[in-house]
Amino acid sequence: MTNVLRRNWLFLLVVLVILTLPLYGSNYFIRAVMSRALILGLVASSLVFLSKFAGMVSLAQTLMYGVAGFMVGNAVADSGRGLLLGWDAWVGMYFALAITVVVALFFGAIASRSTGIYFLMLTLTYAVIGYYFFGQVTTFSGFGGISGITPPDVLNGPTRIYYAAAAVSILIYIFYRAIARTPFGLALQGVRDDPVRMTSLGFNVPMHRTLAFVLAGFIAGLAGVLNIWWKGQIDPQSITIARTIDVLVIAVIGGISSLEGAWLGALVFVLANNYLRVVPLIDKIGLTQDRFRTIVGILVLVIVVLSPEGLTGILQKAWAFVRRKTSGSVGEGPKQEAIDSG
């Protein structure tokens, strides 16, 4: 019970900080760092959700995010490339999310019988094919991409987009927590742990996997809509294999089976991307801003080799250590799950 209270206390504190941040954070920090971190965190969280509850590590989440973004662009834009439907921003959003769900349903159904590492590779293939699709098929975009997209008037402005991203992130986080205890969430975890037994209990295993994929695709789609509203444009460069790997990297930095870790990882990733050059003496060891990706790669390597639970795992261990030291008794340390038993 105290554990639950402590969790919520921490969660409420974080929510409070997020909501009041525009009062004391600089404009640049809100616009370029926090909004981006929240949106990337949302995409990464959909990956973590699939991995944690269904045991499916999907690399197609960036594609789903891209599909939603491109569909907003196609629906809303009235000049430039794409379908040029010229619809209202809200209608564009519903349209984009609907298309994303349909695409996710299709992809999820094809992948639903593949598991483990096979699923990972199949979704990576989706991601790259999606990139070439939007690059080559000029009906929907072409390599130049779609630009000049404005959000609905209510959300027009950097701080407003920030609040939208914050609200969606918080709601989705609560949703993840809630779904774990629903019959669907429980069945999903059963499918993750023992698909054969679940099948003999009468559960439709491929259908559960497909539905989980659709749900994660929808959430990634929400992030995609927020992203194009925030950025105003989208092109195939934003869904390349490198971007796909970025989202995986964010999930790994935060801890691949930790939901809050997704946003934590995104924050660390974006902070490193923006502020690496101001770290004193770092250029003396040959690491400059330009080599940001090398640093991220080394960070991931260190995390995967030393602590597969990522930053969240490290923080939890540190917290348990502090509690043990202060209370003198053995605290109920958070249970560590192995990253994968293979």
């Binding site: 483990g116 094919i129 080599r291």
Partner: protein
């Protein structure tokens, strides 16, 4: 494409796939008016060239994917850095070739003898193999069996290699030059055809035969095949399987490097080529079945054919949809055989 189901009953999916295949064949042979190539019946030369394009491309695909599938088959390690090894070998081979020829730009085929192609290729492939071996010994050998963790480690390695390659070799596209001795043209029904593509195919055939002899006729190959089936049993029989693993990883990375030099001569390399070739390897092995060399050959052939046939036989105004056909191929195979044509469930 016939699924070997336990029951003699024909699955509806198999029937649908058969119908789709028949439809594609009818389209290519008789109906494909308004396409870049015209129906095969009225323009057999174009058809032959397209098929030959597909087969030769399949050769390159096979060389790269065979390394990937070899490593996976024995160790269950998905080497996400396979494309990065390809990239490093390609860039290095280009540099060595430029050094040997003594020019950095406008190298023509006449400047390049067979040695000026094979030596750079071997240097590039050897470096890729050594990098692969180091990555394996340092980062992968102690966590055998943890598939996801190994995949993540190789992802991190690929991120680092890609970034370092960008710094070392720059972001510009570069190409390697085929040796002059194999750069000729001949005519098929009036269409000029480059012999370099056949050269590429013959290298692939040599690689395939070499792999086949290695895996079936040598002691080590037999141990590897036994290891694919039952690692623990092989270990119990007193084989030092860690050495076998290291050699396999070395050979797999070497093959990525050979493919890198071939790919650099065939289509050039630039930043992002690593991702493209990781995708190619993935598509080939997902179609063919992970861990199976026969599967890699079948997957490479199917994928190569789709890649060369689809731009030629799609109606001109829908030409850019050819990427969807790659995806359709993948989807069709997976619907019938979730583990690929020659794959086995884990």
């Amino acid at each position: 494409m016939q699924a070997q189901t336990m029951k003699p009953k024909v699955r509806p999916a198999t029937v649908i796939v058969g119908l789709i295949l028949a439809g594609v064949l009818a389209w290519v042979l008789f109906l494909a008016n308004g396409t870049a190539a015209e129906p095969a019946f009225s323009d057999p030369g174009e058809f032959l060239v397209t098929v030959l394009d597909g087969i030769t491309l399949a050769g390159l695909l096979f060389v790269v994917a065979s390394g990937f599938t070899l490593i996976f088959g024995l160790m269950r390690t998905v080497n996400m850095a396979h494309g990065s090894l390809f990239l490093v070998a390609a860039f290095l081979a280009i540099e060595v070739q430029q050094d040997m020829v003594g020019k950095t730009r406008s190298i023509v085929a006449e400047d390049v003898g067979l040695a000026e192609w094979f030596v750079p290729m071997l240097v590039g492939a050897a470096v890729a193999a050594v990098i692969g071996l180091i990555v394996y010994q340092l980062l992968l050998s102690w966590n055998q069996g943890q598939e996801l963790r190994q995949a993540l480690i190789t992802v991190a390695v690929s991120v680092i290699i890609a970034d370092q390659a960008l710094e070392r070799f720059g972001g510009l596209a570069k190409t390697m030059v085929w040796p002059g001795d194999v750069t000729h043209y001949f005519e098929i029904f009036g269409t000029r055809y480059a012999t370099t593509r056949l050269f590429m195919l013959s290298i692939a055939i040599v690689v395939a035969i070499g792999l086949w002899i290695w895996l079936t006729k040598t002691r080590m190959g037999i141990v590897i095949r036994a290891g694919v089936d039952d690692q623990d049993m092989v270990r119990a029989l007193g084989v030092r399987i860690s050495i076998v693993f290291a050699v396999t990883f070395f050979v797999g990375a070497f093959l990525a490097g050979v493919g890198g030099a071939m790919g650099a001569s065939f289509a050039g390399v630039s930043t992002g080529t690593d991702g493209a070739w990781l995708l190619n390897s993935l598509v080939v092995v997902i179609i063919g079945g992970l861990g199976s060399l026969r599967g890699a050959a079948a997957g490479a052939l199917l994928f190569g054919m789709v890649q060369s046939l689809s731009p030629a036989y799609l109606p001109v105004q829908y030409n850019f949809y050819s990427i969807i056909l790659t995806f359709a191929l993948l989807a069709i195979v997976l619907v019938v055989r979730p583990y690929g044509l020659f794959g086995r469930p884990e």
